[in-house]
Amino acid sequence: MSRDRFDILTLIGLAGVVLVTLFLLLGSGGRDLRLASGPSQATERALQERAQAAFFAETYAPVEELLAVNKPGEALLRLEQIERDLPAEAHTALLRGGILVRQGALVEGIGEYVRAVRSRADYVDTRSPLQRRAEIEQLLATALPVVQSQAQTNPDNQGLNRALRDLHYLQSRLAGGCE
């Protein structure tokens, strides 16, 4: 294949661009130019996770304290207060779910757990510091047989059917998969 002057100049230009790029990349010793403009992704994520954990610990401390002294009703009211400042927060739903189940409002409690997991999957993630897998597994172990048998004997009960669907959702999320 014959090369004219245009081809040769283009080839030289291409080789130059490749060489300069390689020089920049290799010469940087792996340094990322973005370093100059802020922290790394890993740092940002670690910060975010720790800030989130600290924020929840502080915000929900009164609720946890009330639960520790066996005052679930007052804890529930406290959550209502928190909800005014942080509407639709998954952690509120998670704690409320636990209280409602403990108080005997099983269907409503299960619904709150589902709301929590749907908006923050961390609660079923083994890697997350927020995970509550054991608590949700315990809920499934105790509630599923009860709700299943009640739903079978009352097939028209929408609340029970919804609770059964919710429990199956939690079961599926605990089982893993890619989503």
């Binding site: 005052k71 007052e74 009211l77 409602l100 269907v107 028209d156």
Partner: protein, 296 residues
């Protein structure tokens, strides 16, 4: 062609005849929470919707709590919407049929009663209640009176002897008055329904931090729809099914407006509880020597 025209005209007449057939009339007695006006405004759309669904002209009858059992016995209404204690009373005395239980608040179709005090009052335990001024809700209110009365009895406090005195507010909005009574220092302790506290916090009327909960009762069924024993089982069943199909999106044309049925009645939905779910309330009534188990 003429025959076809004739057939269409006849069909139109027949349809018109069908529409002209008068619908049967029945009455639903609604227990007043605050006032007749409020009851009428709340439940008007629901009553109109039920009329539409069941093809019956339902009349809304607002009834005061204290007169509810008496007027029901007198046959003034066939269907009831009342608190769960009135259901228990009418079930025992008049064989009221259970239709559906109203859902409202975090506990769904159930509710609870709490005893509250101001956080800065120093009152922390049941023992602290001795010699204090207390305000209860109306006497037939399961979550405003009965539940708290039992809580105190269980804790060894006799409300009749151990308190300095107790009172029941007059007029409407009794449950809110009870909460404000404690908040503004008129009383030391109050018997407040968990639902009202929840709603008042949600609406920003009070702060949870301002109160401490001395005790909370177990949960029991909330307001209940019932049907007189004379109501045909088929109609009672259709009434129940209609209630259970209601969703927050269900609307009805009422007073020239399209209105959300549940929203207007301050209801989240209905659950088909069974009569044995009310046993917890029966136990409370027995222990507190309250109707329908009252002994003199």
């Amino acid at each position: 062609m003429k025959a076809l025209l004739l057939a269409i005209i006849c069909a139109l007449f027949l349809t018109a005849c069908d529409q002209a057939t008068p619908r049967s009339k029945m009455r639903i007695g609604y227990m007043n929470c605050n006032s007749e006006q409020e009851t009428t405004a709340r439940f008007g759309p629901l009553t109109a919707w039920l009329s539409q669904q069941l093809n019956i002209d339902f009349e809304l009858v607002p009834v005061d709590t204290q007169e509810f059992a008496e007027r029901f016995s007198a046959g003034e209404f066939e269907f009831t919407h009342s608190n769960s204690l009135l259901y228990v009373i009418l079930k025992k005395e008049q064989q009221l049929q259970l239709l559906a239980t109203e859902k409202r608040g975090r506990y769904g179709a159930r509710t609870a009663g709490t005893i509250i005090a101001r956080k800065d009052s120093g009152i922390r335990t049941f023992a602290d209640l001795r010699g204090k001024r207390m305000i209860f809700g109306p006497q037939l209110a399961p979550s405003g009176y009965l539940a708290q009365y039992n809580l105190m009895l269980d804790a060894g406090i006799d409300p009749e002897r151990d308190l300095a005195y107790y009172a029941i507010p007059h007029g409407s909005f009794k449950h809110e008055k009870v909460v404000y009574g404690v908040y503004f220092g008129e009383y030391d302790v109050a018997a407040a329904p968990a639902l009202d506290l929840e709603l008042m916090i949600r609406d920003g009327k009070i702060f949870a931090d301002d109160f401490t909960v001395i005790g909370e009762s177990p949960i029991f069924p909330y307001c209940t729809f019932g049907a007189a024993a004379s109501v045909a089982p088929d109609l009672a069943s259709r009434f129940k099914q209609a209630l259970l199909t209601l969703t927050p999106e269900t609307t009805v044309d009422f007073g020239g407006e399209t209105i959300k049925v549940l929203g207007s009645a301050w209801i989240d939905g209905f659950d088909p509880l069974i009569d044995s779910d009310y046993d917890v309330l029966r136990e409370l009534a027995k222990k507190a020597n309250m109707p329908p188990y009252q002994e003199f």
